[in-house]
């Protein structure tokens, strides 16, 4: 008699001891789930426009000051970071999952560091980081000041 030993969905969020790609996978899952909830909340929020201008305006004010002054922009910045990461990593995955920018089959040599997780794939990861910093900096600046850089 055997017992089940499935790692289950909780192991999606266990990137420790594996490599960068595994970390990015966990983050991609996490940001995807957050974005899913955000989209539902967003539809619910904008549906209030049907209740007339007074409800709508008071909701807007509430969302700007949910827990004290100007907490709203912080939440919005968080959503921006999440969306930017998910989008950029999605583009990277579209590239590498189609076998592009990956090495050709090679001869494994001790100490057996996988080459598919390095090389141009690493260049893409660095590019992702740089783009993420630039886009989020512009976006967050806009959220807090209303000025596009």
């Amino acid at each position: 008699m055997t017992i089940e030993n499935k790692k289950g969905w909780i192991s999606w969020f266990n990137p420790f001891r594996y490599g960068t790609d595994r970390w990015m996978y966990s983050l991609h899952r996490l940001t995807g789930i957050i974005l899913g909830f955000y989209l539902i909340a967003h539809v619910w929020e904008t549906s209030h426009i049907l209740d007339g201008p007074i409800t709508w305006n008071s909701l807007m004010v509430f969302l700007d000051y949910p827990f004290g002054p100007h907490f709203g922009p912080f939440i919005l910045s968080g959503v921006l970071l999440v969306a930017v990461y998910h989008a950029l990593n999605g583009i990277r995955l579209t590239i590498v999952e189609n076998g592009l920018m990956l090495p050709k089959p090679y001869r494994p040599e001790f100490p057996y560091r996988p080459k598919s997780l390095k090389g141009l794939n690493n260049v893409l990861k660095i590019l992702l980081g740089v783009l993420m910093i630039i886009i989020s900096a512009i976006g967050i600046y806009f959220i807090f000041t209303g000025v596009i850089l």
């Binding site: 008699m1 055997t2 017992i3 089940e4 030993n5 499935k6 790692k7 289950g8 969905w9 192991s11 999606w12 420790f16 001891r17 594996y18 490599g19 960068t20 790609d21 595994r22 990015m24 996978y25 966990s26 991609h28 995955l93 590498v96 999952e97 189609n98 076998g99 592009l100 990956l102 090495p103 089959p105 090679y106 001869r107 494994p108 040599e109 001790f110 057996y112 560091r113 996988p114 080459k115 598919s116 997780l117």
Partner: protein
């Protein structure tokens, strides 16, 4: 130089604690952890530690192993949170006083550290891991250049340890997923120029639980003890299948060598 290398050889350098997950099918209890103190000498692997426990402390600890040299792929287990071959993991190199040993995940457990790998073998078999030809008995050899061999050679190093399936996060939730090992082997046979079985494998590889379920977390390549890089195989297979839906993929037919008069009686 030699003296330094041999210093401490044969003497107990430190004592580490092994925390081993135990499950006894006859006792009708849940799995639990038991701790054992193991004196460590230079060169001792985790497998040696488990065998020490078996010999001196608790005879009922069970584990799979055979070759003790990283060839048979029997002794995969989760050591300090990462899938590793117990016979290839030096205790001193782990540099920890507590070593947590778990059986591989995503497989049913038979006892203690022994997983039931039949899922791995079933999936491996389902991609038809052999060369498929139309003719019944070949009359001549198939010619393969060294370059043609390089296209798939790295995937032949797989020792079927099954650690990639244990590390794979997709496999953790999708019971029917083929897994990196089988997908990489499917790629290995498709790109072999002697093989003609692309269409026969297509319905297994290009299915709901096939190659498209991979999310390229790279964990399989990270834990592979032979550097097979199954994640690379899966992505290349995906590239092949994607381009196949635009331009039909044609397997390179191997050129045949001179025909033999008679092959009977040779074997």
């Amino acid at each position: 130089m030699q003296e330094i290398a041999l210093k401490g050889f044969g003497e107990v350098l430190k004592t580490v604690t092994f925390r081993v997950r135990r499950y006894d099918p006859e006792k009708r209890e849940l799995a639990k952890y038991m701790e054992y103190k193991v004196p460590v000498q230079m060169g001792m692997t985790v497998l040696d530690g488990i065998l020490y426990i078996k010999e001196h402390l608790d005879h009922s600890v069970s584990a799979r192993y055979s070759c003790r040299m990283g060839i048979c792929g029997s002794c995969g287990m989760i050591i300090n949170g990462k899938e590793q071959l117990a016979c290839q993991t030096q205790i001193l190199e782990l540099n920890k006083d507590l070593i947590k040993v778990d059986p591989m995940g995503n497989y049913p457990i038979v006892k203690d550290l022994v997983p039931d790998l039949s899922k791995l073998f079933r999936n491996h078999g389902s991609v038809k891991p052999y060369i498929i030809r139309e003719e019944e008995e070949p009359k001549s050899e198939f010619i393969q250049t060294p370059e043609q061999r390089e296209e798939y050679a790295m995937f032949t190093d797989c020792i079927l340890c099954g650690m990639c399936l244990s590390a794979c996060p997709t496999n953790a939730t999708d019971e029917l997923y083929l897994g990196p090992q089988s997908l990489a082997q499917g790629y290995r046979y498709i790109t072999d120029n002697r093989d003609m079985g692309f269409n026969e494998r297509l319905n297994v590889l290009d299915s709901k639980h096939g190659v498209w379920r991979c999310h390229f977390s790279g964990a399989c390549s990270e834990v592979c003890p032979k550097g097979v890089d199954p994640a690379l195989g899966v992505q290349l297979l995906r590239q092949l299948l994607t381009s196949n839906s635009f331009v039909k993929y044609k397997q390179k037919e191997a050129t045949k060598g001179p025909e033999r008069k008679s092959v009977s009686g040779v074997s």
